[in-house]
Structures are given as structure tokens and as C-alpha cells.
């Protein structure tokens, strides 16, 4: 899961970056000093299910406090027990994540290309800092595949068969790259297929939730594809 605050150019004439280094601390494993919580104003009831993201964003913007990841601060978390509960959890989390972004007061268009293969943001672009709202979008192989697929279908529908075929090829290329994580599970084919389909569905649910929830909160957000990680890396 990528949670990142885009560049903020409001406080300095040049780039001032606040990044959560791809990760934030989720509430199932977060210890806080009371004086820090008081300073930050505690948890925001309006943040609903993203109260930990909101708190970490405010901490990132605070001049006084820092967040530390410590070796050995480890919990083991249980999975949801049913498919429906899993979808509900991802939907709820995604739908409310727009609020912390809205609260940061950041503006402008912030676009990122996230490389699934390299597990990092490979390129970023900042546009229109004067825009009165925030657009923060992460593009990945899955998004590229989706765009190529839609464009291919549109070309085919309008009779541009050569363009449709070329775009279908692009779709296949990007989709193949996206499925790399699903192909390398080491599971039997049927189980790998089920896991891959679940992964795809969850990506669709989560993206839709973030997009719709963001619109509700007055920001346009497109999250990165959910990827497997071996552990937290600090940017």
C-alpha cells in the first residue's frame, strides 16, 4: 500500500517533500507519546477508518515530532475470515483515505509512475500548483494495461483495426508485467489463479473506493496497485 504526501511548494519557493516512505504505521502496531498526541490534536473522528493515516500525515508535517520504526516491535495480524469481510475492509479503508489527503491542504497535480518491478516510484511530475484542489495519482502497469485495453476497444469500435491491434498488444504487455507478482507465488496453478483473481478484484475495489471517496472529500486520488513486499523499505 502506498501512502505518500506529494510535494508541498506552499512553504518554500523550492521543493519541500513530505513522504511517508511508502508506509505509514497502522493502528494495530502504533505506540504514541501522549504529549505528541496532545500536540497533534489526537485522533480525528472525521477520519473514520483512516485515522492512523491522518495522524501520521500530521506527524510528518510537524516540526517537532518524529516517527521511528523499531526492530522487534512486531505483531502478527489475522486475516479477515470471509471474502465479503475482506472486500468491506478494503472498501472502507479506501473510501475514507481521501480525508487525510484533503486535510493536508496540498494543492496541484501530482503524478507518479510506480514501477512494480523495482518496487519504487520511478518518476514523478508536479503540475499546476495553483489548482484549488489536489490531484494525486499513481500509475502502474495495471493502469497502463487498463488504459490500453479501453483504447483498444474504442479503436475497434470505431473501425481502426490496426490501432486496435497495436493497443491490444500494449494491453497484453502491461498486463503480463502486472501479473508477475501473481505468477511467482509458487502455488499450484489453480490456487495461483484464484489468488491472482482475488488480487485483481481487490485492486479494482480499492481503486474505485479511493477514487469515489476522494471525490466525496474534494480530492482526486488514484492509488497505486497493491503489491507484495518482503518487508518495509524506507524509500
Amino acid at each position: 500500500m502506498i501512502i505518500e504526501l506529494p510535494f508541498d511548494t506552499s512553504k518554500s519557493p523550492v521543493l519541500r517533500r513530505y513522504r511517508m516512505a511508502f508506509f505509514h504505521f497502522s493502528n494495530n502496531n502504533l505506540a504514541i507519546r501522549k504529549s505528541c498526541a496532545r500536540d497533534l490534536g489526537g485522533y480525528d473522528p472525521a477520519a473514520k477508518k483512516s485515522e492512523d493515516v491522518d495522524l501520521c500525515f500530521r506527524l510528518a508535517q510537524s516540526d517537532r515530532w518524529v516517527a521511528l520504526r523499531e526492530q522487534g516491535v512486531t505483531v502478527r495480524h489475522k486475516a479477515r475470515r470471509s471474502f465479503g469481510a475482506m472486500v468491506r475492509q478494503l472498501w472502507g479503508w479506501g473510501f475514507h483515505v481521501g480525508w487525510p489527503y484533503r486535510k493536508t491542504g496540498l494543492r496541484g497535480v501530482h503524478l507518479y509512475w510506480f514501477s512494480n518491478r523495482r518496487r519504487k516510484i520511478a518518476a514523478d511530475l508536479e503540475l499546476f500548483p495553483g489548482l484549488p484542489f489536489l490531484v494525486c495519482a499513481y500509475f502502474t502497469d495495471l493502469h497502463a494495461a487498463f488504459a490500453a485495453g479501453v483504447a483498444s476497444a474504442a479503436s475497434a469500435a470505431t473501425g481502426h483495426s490496426a490501432a486496435a491491434a497495436a493497443l491490444a498488444g500494449l494491453f497484453a504487455f502491461f498486463f503480463w508485467r502486472y501479473t508477475r507478482d501473481d505468477r511467482e507465488t509458487g502455488l499450484p496453478p489453480w490456487q495461483a489463479l484464484k489468488l491472482g483473481a482475488t488480487h485483481l478484484l481487490i485492486n479494482a475495489v480499492f481503486s474505485a473506493a479511493v477514487l469515489l471517496g476522494g471525490l466525496k472529500h474534494g480530492v482526486i486520488l488514484l492509488p497505486a496497485t497493491i503489491i507484495p513486499t518482503k518487508g518495509p523499505e524506507l524509500g
Partner: protein, 683 residues
Amino acid sequence: MPGPVQGVVIEHQLASRLRSRRFRPRASPVQILQRLLVLLNLWPFEGLLRALYRVALRRVIGRVAAHPGVQAVYGTGSFFDGGRCLLGLSDVDFFIVLRPAVERLDLDRLEIGALYERERRLFPFLGPWYEKEQSLVFLGEVARGFPLLESFRIRASQGRLKLIAGEAVPAALLEGCGSLRDAVVEAESLLRVAASRRDVHSANLRFWKKLFDKLLGCARIAGLHAFERCARAREDLKFLEEDEAALYFRRADPAEQFERFDALARELFAQIALQAPSSDIEVQVEPASLVEARAESPALAALGRRIDFAVRTLPPGRLGPFPRFSQIAIEEPLTVLGLRGPLHTGLRAAMAALAAHGAEDESWLVEAAISYLVVKLEGGVDVFPLSPLLYPDLGARLAGAPGRFSAVRALHQEERSLARGALRALGTLYAQHDGRIHKLPFPCIYREDDRVVLRDVWHRLRGLVALEEGREISDPRALAAHLGHAHPRSAAFLAELADWSLHLNGHGPARRFSNNLFRCAHQFMAKVLEGGRDIEVMPHQIHLGLSVGIITRDRAADLREALQSLTSQARPPDEVYVVDNGSTDGTEGVLADFKSLLPLRHVHLAEASIPKARNAVLEGAAHEIVCFTDDDCVLDPGWLAAIERAFLRADNIGVVGGFVQHHQAPERSTVDSYYGRYHHNTT
């Protein structure tokens, strides 16, 4: 990027130098473009190119110099010298001098870099920021006692610094520039360039002319004018008199030129040693038990398939008799390669083998008259020449005859005084970072690597003892005992610190270590590096009040498991505060069962709101640190102990987090697999 953590940030200058100085090859299309540009160095194009350079400098340097953190920008290189230069090649270089208030950790460095790169987009020939970043001069660091950048000192002494913008650095700062040590350090860095540049750069004579000219410039600084004249008169160096543009198109054999360059450097060092007064230095060095052994390393095996060499190992310790600012610490036994063929071929093969098969930080010493340390770093390989003048003890170590060696007195004294200054400056940095993490804009989550922090601690303590007492003590336990004798009130702490270091590096048994060792180490270092006597540090075991906060709703069975894991904590909780967010199952009964096992308090909050429930915990908890977890989590036995250790590191740590791993469900399912692979192990 590695996490900028407190311990690492406290100097770890070497790593940052190594990383950022790494050579990065240019793409071949750039080479082609460069050739075209060189052809344009003729009238009338040359005038146009020069004008373009001026515009670029005015624009880019003007913006950089306007940054409030920048005091001055100095230009250097043949473009500023007024002589002939090849425009289009990197003949424009500059030093950016930062005001005393600017710290290496401050945002300004990043800001200036971003500003530079943004402006440079129109003028790519000015060179990328990672090259310029090496030329940042932090006046604050110099004021503290760290040495001024050697390349800056050399150019100042040669009168090759031209102030382009801002206000000049104080003249007192430049006093003593152009010392013998500066010349030797510069010669070492030239050897590094000669050894590491790929053939695509070094296969023309212009490249070698620049290097030879600079090396002979070092001879001039060392006062060896006759040596310079003789060298220039040599038949094989006649090309130094020729025009650069013509030489750019004349092929050179990199191997042949490197051997020639290495030989000239050896002659220069020998002349310096011969002419400058020497002293016999005695340093107690541990016996270097060199053993004929072929270490188990895939990179070494790969090298063995390409060239012939003998392998020995050098025990851990330091390279160089004094704690140099950019000193190289050898933590593990160092592989020493005795080549049985040309040096250039061997070095190139070693670099290639390490790049392809080497482990991170794997280092080899290629033994020669001037030995070379080849180091595998994140994403690349670098080479460091070790001149016999600055590493006079290396020969003795390699020969297994420690104890006494001869060193040039002037170099020895300057190295000594620089080492003293640098260690004292490090002491002030340790004091500054005692209990406070310098907040950086990125990343916002910090992480301490205790192994790195302690490696630096022992490395500097070894250097301090070598400097002050002329004794070499490598083993942390022996060093702790030695220092404990001088500082009896810190003896127990030092002994435990040594055990902890050894344990972290897999050389000592696991046991429960005190939780405040990190901070005590900072305090001890701050005082000992500033010459403190019988140092006392704060207690190395401290108890913080920890409340555990759990929000629950209708998960009685999971809550039982979570509470059960709390009962087996190595460091028991001082309070467990549970907010029941409207449960209707048997949660009440579960809580009653744990009343006698845990210091449990619970409240009901009828409204189902997680943020409100968490605020209720924050308000109701009895202790300053509130550790949140969920009712569907199982805690590792060391969870609370690790949280307590983390908060003790610094007073401005507001939040501590860690790792969320997957708890395998009793029955496998696609949902469980999904969480295990994509959802957990990430935050």
C-alpha cells in the same frame, strides 16, 4: 536511499563520500555528442560555445547563489583559468560554500540540489548534481573542526578558485592550504580516477594529459620542481605539451597509461619520502596473522576463473596509523589479493567480479606498491588507492611485522592534528544528537540500525586510543575493558555495550540487554571525544510507563488470544486499557478472566467510532506512552520491550511503529493467502 538515522547521521561521512563519489558511466550517445562538441571548439563556434557557457553559469549559479543557505560559489576548472579548454567536456566545475548555520542534515542541501537540477535542464553540459554535491563546503563543519575539503584546499593553493557569486570565505580558512598532505591526498584521488574510469573515457590521450598534468601539479605543491621538469622531459610524456583537442582524438591504451601513471605516482611518493624529514613511528599493532587461504566468496571464485592471484586475509582493524576523517574501518577479516600479472588487468577484473558477484560491502585489498582497496557498495564498485605515505603502517601489517614503521614527519603531524580536530568535532555532533533526532523532510519514518551505530562507535574509539596512546585494540571487549579502566564509572556500561555489539554482529550470545545503551553510547562518545575524564553516563536501564490500548468489538475469542500474548511479554505492561466499542458477545467474560493476570482496566463506549475510542484511551491511560494494538493481533514477546527501547532513543520520538506480520489462519483459504502475500508484512 538508506534511512537517515541518528547514529548514521552522526557523521558516517565515509559512507556518504563513498556512495556519492561513485563513478557513473555516461551513455554512449552522450559520448558521440561530446565528440561533435569538441569539433566545434574552433572559431567561430568556440566563441558561441563560450557565450552559451556564460549564459548557463549566470542563470544556474545565479539561482543557486540566491538560496539563503549559500554563502558563495567558486568556479574552478580550465574554463575559469582563462586558458585553453575543451568546451563541451566537463571543464566547468564549482564549489558551493554553505553558510555556517547550514547543517549537512538540513533541508538546504536537498533544496539546492533540486533547484540546480531544475535549472540545469536547459544546460545539461554543466554536469549532474551528484557530481556537484561532492563540492559542497559546509562552513559550519569546518568551524566545528572537520577538515576543509581537500580538493578545495588544493585549488585555493593553486589560485584556481574564482569567486563567481556571493561573499568570499574568510581568508583565515585558506591559511595553510597546499600542504604536503593536500598534495598526497590529491594524488591519491587522481589514482582513483585513473583506476576506475572505464575505457570509454580513458581511451584517449586527452584524459591522460589532464591526469598527468594534475599529478605533476601535486609535485609542484610538494616543492619537487626538478621532479616535474624531469617528468615533462620524458619521451613517453611528450604528449603533455600537445593541444587537448588533438589529443582527444588520439587513442591511448588505458592499461599502458595506467601503469605509467601508477609508476609516476610511486616515484613522486618516493621522492617526497626521500626529501621530507621522516620519523620512526612506533605503534603497537596486533600481529597480522596473514594466512594463505582462499575465502569462500562467489566473487572471488569468479575472479579466480579470470586471473591468477594469491589470497591472504588481514585481521580486522584500521587502515592507516591515525583515525583519518575518511578512514576505512575493516570490521571483518580483509581479503588481500596478491596479483600475479599486470596491476591494471587485475584491478579491472577485481572490479568486474565484485560488481557481478560480490556481497554488499565486500572489500578486497589489491596488494601492490600502492595498494588499492576495492569495495562493493550499493549499486556499484569503487576503488581507493592507499598511498604508502598516508598508510605507512600497511606495509608492516602486510609483511606481518608490526610495531615500527617510518613516516614523513610533516604528514604524520598534519594527519594527527586533523584526526584530533575531527574526533573533537564528532564529539560535538554526538552531544548535539544526544536524545534528539534531527527531523528530515524525507523519509518521515526513521529507523536506527544499531549495528551501524555501534560499528562507528567502536571504530572511533579504536582511533581515539590509537591517537592518544599509540595502541591498537581491535576487539570491542578488550577495548571496553581498556576504556573501563580509564573511566571506571562507565566500565559496566562499556562492557555491556561490547557484548551487545558482538551479539548484533552474530559473535556473541543472546541475552537481555539494557534498554538505554544507545543513548548512553551517544553520551559517552560526546564526552570521551572531547577529552572527558572518568565519564559517567545516564543509567543504561530505564523504566518508562507503558499503557497498552486495545479497542474491541464482538471479537471475544480474538481478544482472548491478544490478551494472552500480553501476559507473556518479556517486559510486562504497566496498564492494559481496553475500550469496548459496543460488544454484544462474551467480551465481558474474557476481560474478567484476565483481571488477575494483567493490570487491566476497561471502559464501554457505546458509540461505534474507532477514532473516538482511541482518544478515550489517550485520555484515560495512566502512563505517558500508549501502545495501540488491535484485538485481532497476537504480539511478539519482545513487543513492549522494543517499544520502550525505541522511545528511549530520543525525546522527540512521538510515534513508534514496527512490523505487521501475517498470522496464519488454522485453515488455508484464498483470503488468507491474499492477506499473507499482499496485505500483511507491509506496514
